[in-house]
Every structure is written in C-alpha cells, then in structure tokens.
Symmetry: C2
C-alpha cells in the first residue's frame, strides 16, 4: 500500500509503463494510446502459449451453463425469435429482473429503471459514457478490476483511487470513508464502487453505503456500483446493495451481469439499474453503440432469474468449500498474506519476496503451467498481489494449489 502518489490511478504513463508518445497517435485518436496494456489480459494471452496451462486467472467457473437455462434459448430459436428485439431489452426480461429485485432484495423497481445490456461490461461502458466528459474525475475504491479502470480512461476521465486496507493481522480488508470523501474534488463526477469486491471479497455494509449515497447526493455526484457478485456472499442470501439506501431518482447506476451467478460468461448479457430519467438517454446511447442485446438469448436469462436459485445455492456451496481449501493451503505457506474472502470466488494474496506480480505470473506459467491474475491489474498499489479464481472443480483447485506451493517452496 506504499508508494501512493498524486498521479491519477489510470493515467496514461501508469497504464503504459512508459510515457513517450508512440506513432499511433497519427494512426488513431490519442486516447487509444492511453488505454493500452492491460496486464491481466496480457498474462491470459501469455498463458495461452503454454499447452495445458491451468488457467485460474480468468473470473469464471468451469461449470457450463445448466440445461434449464440453455433449453429456453434452443426453444426460442426453434420458435423463430430471431428478429430485432427491443433496444433496452425484452419487456418480459425487464419485468423478470424487476421481480427478481422484489423477491431477493425487497426493492420495488419500475420497468423504466431496468435496462438489459449486451454484457456487464457494456453496462459499465454505457453508464460511464453517459456521464463522463474529458477532464472529469472519478473516485474509485481500489483494488478494482482493470476493465473498469480502463472504461473510465476510455471515457477520458481520470481515476483517483482510494485503497482498501489489509488489516495488520491480515484478516480483513477495510475502507476508510473519510479517504473517499477527501478524494472528491470539484472535478469529481462519480464515485465508482465494486461491492462485493473483485478481487478481495470485501463487502461494503449498508451504513457505509448510506453515508456515500448521502454524500454523493449532497455534492450532485453519480454513484456507479458494480454489484455483479452481490449474490455470491457466504452465509447471506445477498450482499447489501445501494438500492437499499437510494431514492428512485438518485444519480445511481447499478451494474450487474448474468455471467457469474449462473455460469453464463460466454453469453455477454448484463443489466443496468438507472434512475427513470436516464432511460431515454441510455436508449439513445445504445442506438449508436450496439443496438441492444441479442433477442433469443434473453429467454435463457429469464430462466436463470426465475428458476436459478437452486443452481446458485449449489454454486455458492461449492465456492465456499473451495474457499476453505484455498485458505487452508495458503495458511500453510510462510510469508503469505491474505484475508479469507467473504464473497465472490477469488483470493487476493501477497507473498513475501514476490514484489513483482508480472514477473511472478510469468514464472508461474513458464515453470508450473499455472495462470493467475497479476495484482497490478487492479491498481498501482497491488503489484505485490496475485488473484486466484477458485470457482473450479476440487481436483483442479488442489492441483493449482500444489503448483503454487511448489513455486513458493
């Protein structure tokens, strides 16, 4: 957590690792040079060169989408639902998402607040693109998935990161709200939060959410809350949501996705909860961005929300057992620092003597055929960290932990 400077988190020189201007600037627009180099993506591609690499660097389970979700898509194809669908998603899916929030979160959402998007990433991109202008600032709680940091940069805004702190006993990640408030300047346009957090498993609690929402409201700021892991919290039905503390017309975007809960990563379907006043604006934006999500895929998404609770519980049970296996293994390694994750399916760890995550990640691939995600993907202060996704079958996970142990011996 040292070496914190006043440089924006997603400044070009940080993202580049160099500051010279390349020849690309005549080729494409300047910001294209500023979004280069995604260390996580680089390592995934580095790993693909190695046959049979055990890839736990990507955030997905090894379970294919279950049949109760795929069958409605095959049926919809047979029934000819292959024409243009509504720009903001099928009404039946928007209705189902609203019912899901009523059932699981106890929140009433009018349909004009519910937007289906072509991936959770698209929901992030659309929300940020609708509010951020060149020169705007964003306060973001770190560590944060690099693709969110990159999406802010693509919108030509600067990220001022506020780091979570790993407690002295190494048992939990904590946030100092005063650091969040202090990072806001007159140029700040939005506070970006991912809770439950990828990669730490940290979960923001309702009191902190209320404090942030109240602060944002008083300053006219947007809150963008990525709640993709909101159901993958251990021992609870769901994590707190900003919807618990917000008014319907608050400047609040909730980003969500079908990917993680229901093993639907390859589907590229997500959703956005927005104030009703944003609906028409997002509609305009989607017209010129991607013209909306695929039509017949949405029948699978409806099945996931309506009939997916049992599957989700099974997944959580498996992830929790895997979490315990991972923690047992890591606690046996001297010099290992991590907090047992309370949610998601990642462990974010720091190993004494391994300060350079990129070098460590490459060594794991080259010498042990093990792919993990480098911590520098999540913010500049996490170069000593690595992320392991444990959403895989137990034998695979035990194999990976053996390889990691061997690398650290």
């Amino acid at each position: 957590m040292s070496d914190k400077t006043a440089r924006p988190e997603n400044s070009p020189d940080h993202l580049h690792g160099h500051s010279e201007t390349s020849a690309c600037c005549q080729f494409m627009r300047p910001v294209m040079d500023q979004i280069r180099h995604n260390p996580g993506a680089d390592i995934i591609r580095y790993g693909r060169r190695v046959p049979n690499v055990l890839a736990l660097g990507t955030g997905e389970t090894d379970t294919p989408t279950p049949e109760f979700i795929t069958r409605p898509v095959a049926d919809a194809l047979t029934a000819g639902h292959t024409f243009y669908g509504p720009i903001l998603g099928r009404t039946d899916l928007r209705q189902t998402i609203a019912e899901y929030y009523k059932s699981i979160y106890g929140v009433n959402l009018s349909l004009d607040r519910v937007i289906v998007t072509a991936s959770g990433t698209s929901a992030i991109h659309l929300s940020l693109t609708s509010i951020l202008e060149k020169g705007d600032e964003v306060v973001a709680i770190l560590p944060l998935w690099k693709n969110l940091l990159g999406a802010i940069r693509l919108a030509q805004a600067e990220t001022h990161g506020v780091d979570l702190h790993l407690s002295a006993d190494g048992k939990e990640w904590t946030l100092d709200l005063n650091e969040v408030f202090a990072a806001v300047t007159p140029k700040t346009r939005a506070i970006v939060i991912n809770t439950p957090n990828n990669p730490t498993g940290w979960v923001m609690q309702e009191d902190d959410m209320r404090a942030i929402m109240d602060f944002a409201r008083s300053r006219g700021l947007w809150v963008v809350s990525d709640e993709v892991y909101g159901r993958l919290v251990y021992g609870e039905k769901r994590a707190p949501s900003f919807l618990d503390v917000a008014k319907p017309d608050d400047k609040l975007f909730i980003v969500n996705s079908f990917s993680k809960n229901w093993a639907m990563t390859g589907w590229r379907l997500g959703w956005l909860i927005a104030p009703a006043a944003a609906e028409q604006r997002i509609y305009d934006l989607v017209l010129y961005d991607n013209m909306g999500p695929p039509n017949f895929l949405q029948f699978g998404a409806i099945a996931a929300l309506k009939d997916g609770e049992h599957f989700l519980e099974e997944q959580k049970t498996r992830f929790r057992a895997n979490r315990d296996i991972v923690c047992a293994a890591l606690s046996g390694i001297k010099g290992m620092h991590y907090a047992a994750p309370q949610s998601s399916f990642y462990v974010f760890f720091k190993m004494d003597g391994e300060p350079d995550c990129m070098a460590f990640a490459k060594r794991l691939i080259d010498d042990h055929a093990l792919g993990l995600a480098p911590g520098c993907s999540f913010g500049r202060n996490y170069e000593g960290f690595m992320r392991l996704c444990y959403a895989v079958s137990e034998p695979l996970l035990r194999d990976a932990l053996d390889r990691l142990g061997a690398a650290l011996r």
Copy 2:
C-alpha cells in the same frame, strides 16, 4: 435536395429540431443531449401503439433465421461452449470470414485483419470511436442511416454531408466525386460511405472507390465503408468493395453484419475488416466496451458463411421479385419519384404534396396502420422522402402497397 447549408449534418440543433439547452446537461454529459431524437426510432415506437400495424419501417426480412444456422447454436449450447470466448471473436469464425472473402471477393485477408463484433452497429461504433476526437470532421455520403450519423455525433465529431443526386429522369441516384473531395477540410479525419446504400440502393462502382481510396491515402484520411448490403445486389454475386482497391495497410475499416444476408437481425453479430496495425488497438477498445461477442452464437455465424449461399440466393430472388412489385405499384401513382433500387431491400421515394415525412409517417400509421421510415432519418435534405422495406412476404407487401396507395389517393 435544396436548402443545403454549411451547417454540419449531425449538428445538435438539426438532431433536436430545437437549439435550446435542456436541463439534462447537469444530469448527464453534454453530448448525451446532442444525440437525442432519432426520427426513425421515434416512428417505430409511434407505430407500436397501433395494434396490427404493418411495419415496413425496420430493415429486416420477415423470414426467421433458417434451421441450418440455428441448429449449430443449439448444439454448441449442449456441448457447453458457454464460457468466455476470445475478445475479437473465435478463431474458427475469423478464419471462416477470411475464407468467405477469398471465395466471394477474391481477396486475401490475414486473420489479424478480421474482427468479430457484437453487432454491425458495434463495428461502426468501435471503428469511429477508435479514430474520432472531439472537433474532428467526417465527410459522409448521404442519405445515410441515422444510426451512423448518430455514432459520429456520439464520437463528438461533425458530419459534413455530400448528397447523392436523384437524376432528372428520376431513374438513378448519382454521386459527384468532386463534391466529396471539396467537402474535405484540414479537420477531416474520415470519409464514411455506405455502399450498397441504405436507403437508395445506390452502389458505388470500383472506379469511384479507387479515386476515393487514392484521395484518402494522399490526405491521411480513414475510409469507413459500411458494406452490410454488399451481397444484396441484383444480378451480381456481390457489389464492389473497398477491399478491391485498397492496400492491406490502408486506413480502411469495412463494416459488415450477419443480420441482413442470413436473416439474423436478432443475433447482434457483425464484423470489421481493419488494417493489421489496428488489431491490438481494437482489442484494447473492446475490453473496455463490451468484452466481445457471445461465444456459442458464433457457431451459427460459421454455418451462415459456409452453407448460406443457397439461402442468400433464395432471399435475393424474393427481394428482386418484391422490388419489381413495388416499382410497378409506385409507377402507377401520379407525383411519385423514386429510382428502382439496384441493391438492398428498400425503396426510397418522394411524393409530390408530402413534404413533411414525419407528418406523413404518422398519418400512415394512424389512418392506414402502415409503418414506414421517415426520410429525415437519413439526412436533413430528405424530409420529403420515405423508406419502405420490401423484404417481406408478397401478400404482406401487396397489402402495404394498397395501404400506401389509399393514403395517396
């Protein structure tokens, strides 16, 4: 074609129909106010209020995707191809697109020039977003689908339109290349062309393409060529393509889509041909935009390209017969002006005494339950025009033409 001014084609006041600043500018970023109001989309929604409206305002056939394309998707779902796919598309699909260009166009494309996108609109958005900066200018040949004009505006660039001309005998649309070259200023960054053209069916010929490519190369400009209707040209296997006249490293984006050729509008799959030097940049951009196209859908796209020629020929035969039915009907209406389309599945017509396309479009819906697209969607000089999509079954088309005839009686 009159009333041409120096105002940019996609200036906010043109798009708004008004120039006052609305309260939204504190709510979202300023450009969100500038992309408002899409007359084509407005009319489609206006039509949805009317039960059983005969909707020929949307650009799609009434044929569902054929079974030889849908079956591979159902099979891929069963086989568990539900995980994250490659950001720029599956290698097997990229390979198939390259083979398709070799087979149909006689053009050799290296795989690093072929990018699969989550819709043709996404291909447009990604190409424009990668090159256009606020204040840049684009020269665009009009009429042009509003979603392309809006995508340019979303990129904060200004469109300088160059109109096609309807010949004095009303038989064909023509382009004066000198008008294109004269519209270029030091701020111009790209020339945007849709050929074959939606809505006129005009097809740019190879000599004109060569002249534009040579000019663009000499000025360092990009050419963005939307060739989505490239196969739907009557009496030819395919229309000329900018790939016929370009060098591999020219600043050229070709936008294409599976939607129109193979009745796959609801799939949201397209592709982009780019110079190899752009591949990594588009990859970076897609990471922060939508993380790439759905995985298992691409098996259907492979089938469309490999086994879709017979279906495409059938569709073209039907469209051509429909074209002749439309032209026969229109030629019987006094005061009607149109050129018989050489490609695509639209007729773009102008009726004496109907100068206001929005009023006419609403009257057709309200009084005759017929939905057509208003000409003002395609540029400011087309307010007297309407677009009819004739890619539907013959009885439906004859019914629509009867309704149109009744409205004009």
